[in-house]
Symmetry: D2
Subunit: 423 residues, 4 copies
Amino acid sequence: MDFNYSPRVQAMLRDLGDFFDAHITPNEARYRAEADKARAAGKPWTPNPVIEELKPLARERGFWNLFLPRSERAPEGLSNLEYAPLCEVMGRVPWAPEVFNCSAPDTGNMETLERYGTEEQKARWLDPLLDGRIRSAFLMTEPDVASSDATNIQCSIRRDGEDYVIDGHKWWSSGAGDPRCELFIVMGKTDPNADVHHQQSMILVPANAPGIRVIRPLTVFGYDEAPHGHMDIALEGVRVPASNLLLGEGRGFEIAQGRLGPGRIHHCMRLIGLAERALELMCARVRTRVAFGRPIGEYSVWHERIAESRCLIEQARLLTLKAAQAMDTVGNKVARREIAMIKVVAPKMAQQVVDWAIQAHGGAGVSEDFPLAQFYVAARSLRLADGPDEVHNTTIAKLELKRSAQADGDAGSRTARRPADKS
Amino acid sequence: MDFNYSPRVQAMLRDLGDFFDAHITPNEARYRAEADKARAAGKPWTPNPVIEELKPLARERGFWNLFLPRSERAPEGLSNLEYAPLCEVMGRVPWAPEVFNCSAPDTGNMETLERYGTEEQKARWLDPLLDGRIRSAFLMTEPDVASSDATNIQCSIRRDGEDYVIDGHKWWSSGAGDPRCELFIVMGKTDPNADVHHQQSMILVPANAPGIRVIRPLTVFGYDEAPHGHMDIALEGVRVPASNLLLGEGRGFEIAQGRLGPGRIHHCMRLIGLAERALELMCARVRTRVAFGRPIGEYSVWHERIAESRCLIEQARLLTLKAAQAMDTVGNKVARREIAMIKVVAPKMAQQVVDWAIQAHGGAGVSEDFPLAQFYVAARSLRLADGPDEVHNTTIAKLELKRSAQADGDAGSRTARRPADKS
Amino acid sequence: MDFNYSPRVQAMLRDLGDFFDAHITPNEARYRAEADKARAAGKPWTPNPVIEELKPLARERGFWNLFLPRSERAPEGLSNLEYAPLCEVMGRVPWAPEVFNCSAPDTGNMETLERYGTEEQKARWLDPLLDGRIRSAFLMTEPDVASSDATNIQCSIRRDGEDYVIDGHKWWSSGAGDPRCELFIVMGKTDPNADVHHQQSMILVPANAPGIRVIRPLTVFGYDEAPHGHMDIALEGVRVPASNLLLGEGRGFEIAQGRLGPGRIHHCMRLIGLAERALELMCARVRTRVAFGRPIGEYSVWHERIAESRCLIEQARLLTLKAAQAMDTVGNKVARREIAMIKVVAPKMAQQVVDWAIQAHGGAGVSEDFPLAQFYVAARSLRLADGPDEVHNTTIAKLELKRSAQADGDAGSRTARRPADKS
Amino acid sequence: MDFNYSPRVQAMLRDLGDFFDAHITPNEARYRAEADKARAAGKPWTPNPVIEELKPLARERGFWNLFLPRSERAPEGLSNLEYAPLCEVMGRVPWAPEVFNCSAPDTGNMETLERYGTEEQKARWLDPLLDGRIRSAFLMTEPDVASSDATNIQCSIRRDGEDYVIDGHKWWSSGAGDPRCELFIVMGKTDPNADVHHQQSMILVPANAPGIRVIRPLTVFGYDEAPHGHMDIALEGVRVPASNLLLGEGRGFEIAQGRLGPGRIHHCMRLIGLAERALELMCARVRTRVAFGRPIGEYSVWHERIAESRCLIEQARLLTLKAAQAMDTVGNKVARREIAMIKVVAPKMAQQVVDWAIQAHGGAGVSEDFPLAQFYVAARSLRLADGPDEVHNTTIAKLELKRSAQADGDAGSRTARRPADKS
């Protein structure tokens, strides 16, 4: 047992920190100015030039596709445990991960293609994604049903000769607002009569296929998050070649299980970086604002919040790292308990830390002068995205209850001390 | 002691409910469509026609200026206790209060003018405000200091001959985005060397006075809340006649004290209506969404949240009503403990209830398809606006500690049971 | 609507306060000394002489059986709304209610007899109880089943000729430790095959009936609460005349419903008094203890806790009073929502306030030098006694969900703003 | 970075688990029976024979003094990181640690003597302690002052010729109730005029020295925790040879700093074991109790609590282990942030988990039939003992604020995005 990062990771962290100091932090104001300019010009759905400028620099420094586990296409790939602290740093600035080609949902989509795609599928979609030339979206959630229960899915994928025909209504299709988005990975049902875990399939759909209609961008607490966006999309008689199916009919649930683990943990890593930054902002603010004769950082109510923030962040980080190691060593399926745990813990932690940071900033905290309101929205949304807290809690609880049932006898009666007298 | 509303209030509540059913609820979609249309046309800062259409109807039905306590200009005025449940109903729809000329910050500004204005000031500003012909803003908060401590205020109001000259930087000037806004009530310092509660003064400034520069609208999370808006405003050498001063030099703090009580409690009343609606939405959602074979409303985790919401709302309502009665009977100053209490309790309650409602709605909860994200932002912001929670908590605590000190002897030692033996 | 106590109640409150100052508070140390002496002598289950001395004084002053609603035996009885603030005061000292013959479970038992007893039953049991000459216990909870679900009850009440024969195992029979306890009201099943709400009956059993075996006193967090006590009791072939049955076979559930309302609300009233006293102790302590150069009451973390305590107490009190009025005006059955609410709110509130008070006292807070540890135990236990929080929360939630279902149409869809476009 | 225990620790964990299965768990009922018997005989302050029987078995198996870091007297000693999981297991049963000579406060006292004692002091006190022949107590806390602020200490240690004379009043002297307790380590002031961290000294005092008077055992929520006990002790003119002083005059604060780190972390390790067991009991209970037609473990409100318990425990364990490694590698002083963090986190976590476990057990949970009420008391008390939460939170916060101040520039302004326009 050892809580220190490996020398390799420590070195990468230093280098990545330098990259942030040199290229990310100094560009925050410009990123925002470019976004404002595009919006003022009526073109909010335009890729931000800052990203495209920085990508070659990041790639040159070796900070490219770090998320991708060791594999044919990533012989020098990192383990989840190694990637975690780097991903955390990237999470400090919401737009930074894309600079390193490490942004959601492309990372999950690339990992899905890498694991489950045919060579043909990889050549067409994975390579340009790994190159950062195109973007992608993942169409799973539907507006009319509780999508955390995969059996609720209504989107139909129907075989018709050499093709599949897709009809459905999806939303929260993140990244589909980006004009560079060329691929939709769509979850639907090929056989509603199969057993519950074999009704679903996943299929690759070109973003410009006939029958696809982007209805509108959704907002998240007032943000449209352009140019990335979260789209509301109708698929009406969309036809794609049968070879676009991933892995095989009825294997959609299996792919989702494999895919969501890494995606969830990456979100959590980024949230830890986000919470660290919120705590930094909180400390900086309370040190410098004066009320009733003293910096507010001298009031003990802020000591409580700063200390609890630090404790929450450290614990969430350790749990995330432990989950990462579990995924590396026993696989995503066995590590599902750890993944569920961190998926519940990290967003709630970040939501709390950011809320305090907002409170420390007064009105400035909810405004655009600080990134805190956006941070809050990111954390809050992740208590819903990729499965709401309730679903993960039930997963964790059922594993505990199963373990309890398996325990030799019944711990309750074993430890009860009620006198024999009484029964 | 009696927890029933008076017959008069019950009748008004029925009538107001009918008005909502007939005119407000059916117009929610149209209000939004008009706002979207204005924004799409590049004119978000345009008054929404729905409001102007409904105002005459409301006035005709007698639902006009209900907030205004009994006075010369409101001989039939309601008490705070009577107004509270009506204000609560208005709070169910964020734009509704203006239909009844009962929206912030105009209500506070009108009450300020009614109490402290000269006849000349009333004729020029109060009458058109009471008529709903113009709007107003209140410029107190400053970006560079913790404005909850009035001694921090930096804005200067300097006498120069027959005029005052104002220099300062204000923000969160709510309502200043509205083109009908013609009056700014500005808080500044006339004498920084006076004792701490007599440095400040308030002055009436026409919104179009030379030297006023609206820098930008602020956003609250991702909302700009057009056409109302929260403005960032520079006042540079703004000159107004000396007769525009309210009440007298050095009396700004006194006016603020008198003004903020009603304003705070009105916010709380509206938050209770907002929370009621969030709970209704929560219940409706969990009854109808199915996950893993059952409506989610059958899962006991939702029973907990619904029950706790109901308990929180009921308690906050009772506390608000009690504070309202205190204001009516012992005055805003003596009731400051009650006002501080409800100012802390209501926003926190609403934030929690709305958060659960959002969770019940999944992705839809954070989107614009339901009013919940906006509700959340309203509740969260009120933990900062009109004094952050920390300031009110200290007010409450100091009154408790004072009472404790005044108690005959020391309750601690009176009730200690340590044996005499030991000391 | 009026939040002021009636003149009659205000006068009684003043008198009761005087009685506390004169007779209760000065006797706290002696009560404890007598209890310690009895325990040291190996006789903890002896009535405390302080109680018996004070009872005549209380009775003489008219503070006797105040809990009993207006009825034949209590023509001057108080309403629940009138009794509430008096009961609150009694709750400040755990042993005080008995001085006024207002202590649980006798109050509930007396009310049950008054409502449902025959004249013969009243003459034998109710009159000496009202006189304070005997004590009683209520035997409902069973160790082997979740007793909040009345259908789980296993105790059998079997008709045998002119008698009933009772076999069962009960625990948490509070007050059964007192040597003056002469009556057990026992809940059992007369017909396990009847519909779920008509299987149960209640029967009056003399505490010394053959077949009754008190197994042991239970402890509550280390306290045996002698001489009152919470007993673990076996009933083995206990035989009583058929005339001891209350109201009729199969009516036990109905009686329980009628009985538990007042019992629950009295507990809550007392908890509010207990919480008030905990807050007083907290304030007194933090004003006078110095750490790191200042009284700890000057640290803002204590401002937060004091303020939140005050807000929690005030709100719980108002909710209790409102529930009391509902019971007075619409009856216990219709008021079950209000009763369930206060039953959840008050213990949780008291638990939190007392926990902070303990923290303020350091080690002294968990010791016997202050009543806080005992207060904590009282509050915590009431989250289990008379129905655990979970059961009451489900009651409240189901009423909300029912109201939601009854609402004209579906609030969810009525207020949804999703564009027609999308479905 | 690696989250797996070393092979050596894994093997020891297996062996210790076997020892628990063979000797500790089967003796829980007997331990309690012996304690009850002693109490019934009027001799509660008698060592429990179960402990003495098991000690030789534990020692034979090598489970003896495991807490002691590698040193002259413990050449095979474990690191804190290695000891942590073993200590956690011991914490599952409150009386178990003593079987392994690993119970507080003896562990802290032994470590203090090992580090700071002279050879003569070690020969007289440390060797018999390491042998388990005698017990010891630590007299720091005083009833009349906030003892978390060491400058408040009032106990005087005055040089008088070849002796020191000690006068003071101490309480919460844990373990001083045990008749085998022969040593008191006493903290007092040798020079009240020295600078704040050099006023205090520590001195070794035989438990039977003239002038020592044990006033009474304190209770913790009704428990006297005999035969261990928490004593209230007067020291009146107690005279000991000058050679009994530890390390030197004015070095008491320094010793306390060195001593409290390990003591605090051991408490936390044990609390994690205690919380694990509470969770096991909770799961076993909810699986087997039925209410309203289903085991309560099928209600989602219990899923939430079980899942949150699991998440809280895992995180607290990881934080504890990280703190242990920090103590091993950078020393107790540099690791004070980590120690403060875990000291705040672990008791709060255990308090919450145990509270839910109690709720799952209904009335049984607060009774002596399960260890949960005792567990609760242990967790709650540790939020006060060895420094209240508030003090540790301030320690953590000040380190964060210091780091913030040292950061290059001000993160607040660096990341602020307010347009240059406005200032």
